[in-house]
Symmetry: C2
């Protein structure tokens, strides 16, 4: 965990949708200063795999997963806003999850952890801002799974946030993404080293490696991979005798990403968080998508999607934006032509930074400045 990580322990019992946790801990990081009125806070939820370390700080100078976006003189300007990034309940970067010790047994939860939902993650994140005495957030926001969590938060706590920002996310998953995530989970569960969740150390490294490679292929766009790697071959490939070894550059790219991931993320946590996305459906709140989104309390919303995203297709962004647009709420919808697919919000800074800069009234909205900074 980062030196900058803080922890909030929820006292007593924390009711989940499908069970109860005793005294779970939620890890988070903050940037900037909460003002006297306590009305300048931005609550940020993450995608499946990141920690709460969204950006560097004095306590931890290593770059965060959204480094170009958060900081002084950046689109989410921390000289103006107090930003709180939550490590999701169920994750393995300081928050309580399947890899944590169950105080009732003294053993790791593993599969005894209750089925996790996006709503549970939203509620756990809310406990952090309550502990700070924040009753009105400037904005609740998130990308990918974090966008789902932000939407859920604005439904569960409609008074808690003035604004909502959803990036490359949706009010419910598409069939195709459910299938892809289910297959990733099956890769992990098929690995004998998973052992029904009861492993020590890294556990199902082969399953995690395969799941991560498929993950990368769902996060990145076909056009981007074609531009970056084409049909280029790895120089040394011809020297091996393995007819199925790494040969194309794109195979080498996937291999290096898989290596970094395996051992860095707990397999059971991955399974729980992955499944939480499949289970999310805002229609669970009021019976229909329309009713669910009508319960969103934010008065202003920004929905950003990417046209090459196959995991959260652009139609899902439109569905979310249209559902939010009840005639009273101020809703902005942006469909970006980035080639990087689902992960564009992490890399296509030339497109994403100006949008968030506009939304948060940042002071550096000259395109040139943004370009050179990214």
């Amino acid at each position: 965990m980062s030196e900058a990580t803080q922890y909030h322990t929820i006292e007593g019992e924390f009711p989940m949708q499908h069970g109860v946790l005793r005294q779970p801990s939620i890890a988070f990081e903050t940037w900037g200063t909460l003002n006297f009125q306590k009305d300048n806070a931005i609550l940020l939820f993450t995608g499946l795999s990141p920690s709460a370390h969204a950006a560097s700080s004095e306590q931890d100078r290593t770059p965060g997963w959204w480094e170009p976006m958060i900081g002084e003189d950046k689109p989410v300007d921390t000289s103006k806003y107090f930003v709180i990034c939550i490590n999701s309940l169920g994750s393995c970067f300081g928050s309580t999850g399947p890899a944590s010790i169950d105080p009732a047994t003294g053993e790791n939860y593993r599969l005894a952890f209750p089925v996790l939902t996006i709503e549970d993650i939203a509620r756990a994140g809310h406990a952090v801002i309550e502990s700070m005495g924040i009753t009105k957030l400037h904005t609740v926001m998130g990308a990918s799974m974090g966008g789902m969590t932000a939407v859920a938060h604005s439904v569960l706590f409609p008074e808690a946030a003035e604004s909502l920002v959803s990036i490359s996310s949706s009010a419910r998953p598409v069939t195709y993404s459910i299938a892809l995530r289910s297959l990733q989970r099956e890769m992990i569960r098929s690995d004998a080293d998973w052992n029904s969740g009861d492993y020590d150390g890294a556990g199902p490294t082969m399953g995690m490696r395969l799941a991560r490679k498929l993950g990368m292929l769902t996060y990145r766009g076909s056009a981007e991979l074609a531009q970056r790697f084409g049909l280029e071959r790895v120089a040394e490939a011809r020297q091996t005798n393995d007819p199925f070894g790494i040969d194309f550059e794109v195979e080498s790219y996937l291999e290096s990403h898989a290596k970094k991931f395996v051992g860095a993320f707990d397999a059971n946590c991955y399974l729980y968080l992955s499944r939480a996305m499949d289970l999310f459906d805002i229609a669970d709140h009021g019976g229909t998508l329309e009713n669910g989104l009508a319960r969103v309390g934010a008065k202003r919303a920004l929905v950003i999607g990417v046209e090459s995203d196959t995991l959260f297709p652009i139609a899902q962004q439109r569905e979310l934006a249209e559902g939010l647009d009840d005639g009273e709420r101020d809703v902005e919808f942006k469909a970006l032509p980035s080639v990087q697919g689902h992960d564009a919000f992490l890399v296509d800074m030339d497109r994403f930074r100006p949008l968030l800069c506009d939304f948060f009234n940042c002071s550096m909205n000259q395109p040139g400045q943004l370009k050179s900074a990214s």
Copy 2:
């Protein structure tokens, strides 16, 4: 193998691009009658997994993999044409492949089988028509991997076919498809039961099952899965205690397809054929894509692609059609709006049948008739 399967043994040594086979056997099926002039033959190459049983016949009344397309009074009318479908070299439905016995050792080839190329498959298919004394085919055709093979055939034997039909195929793979196939192969190779190719019986069933599921997700379109399955749940899912068991209908769909495939297709054959697609690049013939396609001998070409195909994207179809269009060749390009993705040629008969009927001057080109028949 089907009762209708015939075999041609290539006498002596068969030179492959990366090795030599002794007396390989090529399985095939035929429909219709070769006319006296021997000019009414259509040579059909298949995708990765089908056998030569493309359609039913008197010898084998079970429906073939392209049953609505081939037969009397069908778009490829066998009362007019003599159709020959080839089981690819390297496959496991009668043709010599990694699962066959190497006559030199008396053992299965397994990984001793030479690296397979699309060109090898085309040459082996050509040996079958040579054995029949056919010197001029009416058409060489194929879909998916079979389309690659048909293009290779028309380059290697430019005088052999008047016309070329390529369906949902390409002159070279896209980066994304290479990555997906590489991952499928890794799933199989990661299964301990693969044992470096040295297995008995079904072998790596778990790896094959995962690879087939990913295959299905690359063959079918996201929109189609959404239309068919939406977010529907399997009725009995709630009764199991497995938090990661089959829950959504789309998971059940993938499971049933995987079950059918495992045990029905040899894992080593799958690896070789999958890799052959990655290695195919028509630029290997003459240095560039343009030069390669300039060597295609067919005077007439039909290129059909599907807009929702992610494995062989529509841009690849356009690239192929434009490369074939040298000003002298009669080239037709059709981009179909089918939602079924890569597999549309197997299921979207309302769109595919009229196109092939037109091309082959079939006598049933009333759309209504076609619709009711499909």
